[in-house]
Subunit: 153 residues, 2 copies
DNA sequence: TATAATTATCTCGAATTCGAGATAATGTGC
DNA sequence: GCACATTATCTCGAATTCGAGATAATTATA
């Protein structure tokens, strides 16, 4: 049956897509994480600093929403960054359940130094595609990702 | 300076690509892992079983190469799968350093049952793109991934 | 207002992964 | 055949993440 065969074939292609996607990201991540590690941070710590750097102070809970980690993990990461003096906890005066994570001067100085390097490293890692190919890839990945999340475009 | 500006722009696009790629895979993985968890396995366990299922018995060390995990982690995963009776360790008679991981009948039966379901689940998760879009995406991701790994095409 | 539901953060223990190093077997160069 | 490097597996402890549940504050409801 032709329709059957096509369905089976398409399942194989989808599986392949999943595998290739996983491996491509793994290769990139490996190099990005080496880069981040050279700054003395792990990927989650970097992601939290990046968020505060670009969006300003955030309630701890919001950090988890954006960086996509569990609340218990945020506590752990924020603890570590606080010990390293890159951020501070500041209670919200209006809502005493809320604690803000606020970058310190040291944190901002660190990001001023490493964020451009980080962007440049990613640029070099992704240089296998030209600008238009990247733009197209972004479009297709968004379509794929939104659909997987259950959001139709 | 125009060249400068373009470089900065392209760095932003590359960063965006990295973010979109990470998020797309995260959305897909989340659903794939739910699927796998419903079979009572975690992603690494499933990957090991999938390897043995498609490629037959493997020296434990080879498993780590293919599934891309550290040797100490393989020991851990193989221990767990052995306890669950999905595979056995068999010493190699020719080289006494080597231990093979061999699927048991239970393991094969499990994979006979769940692997088609798994493929079908991925097919549904990836249905945001049509067949040609998937094929193109695979090509582009391979190019990106190989380059990131330092392999020119 | 008292009660219940929700929200934000944290604590705790378990699962998973890693890296460094131990152990044992094999291969290599002299 | 012996010393040395290499290879395969495992042990151990540390790092990271999660989920369940505790605590406390706020909001909604009767």
């Amino acid at each position: 049956m032709d329709t059957q065969d096509n369905k089976l074939l398409e399942e194989d292609i989808s599986l392949k897509l999943f595998v290739v996607l996983s491996r491509a990201l793994q290769s990139i991540k490996k190099r990005v994480e080496e880069d981040i590690k050279s700054f003395g941070l792990n990927p989650t710590e970097f992601a939290v600093l990046e968020l505060l750097y670009s969006k300003g102070a955030q309630p701890i809970q919001k950090i988890g929403d954006k960086v996509l980690i569990a609340s218990s993990s945020i506590t752990y990461v924020v603890d570590k960054l606080e010990k390293k003096k890159f951020l501070e906890r500041k209670p919200c005066p209006k809502d005493r359940r809320i604690t803000y994570a606020v970058m310190t001067t040291e944190g901002t100085e660190l990001m001023n130094e490493i964020f451009p390097k980080h962007k440049h490293a990613i640029q070099e890692i992704c240089a296998g595609l030209d600008l238009n190919e990247k733009k197209n890839l972004i479009q297709q990945l968004k379509k794929l990702g939104y659909y997987a999340q259950g959001i139709e475009l």
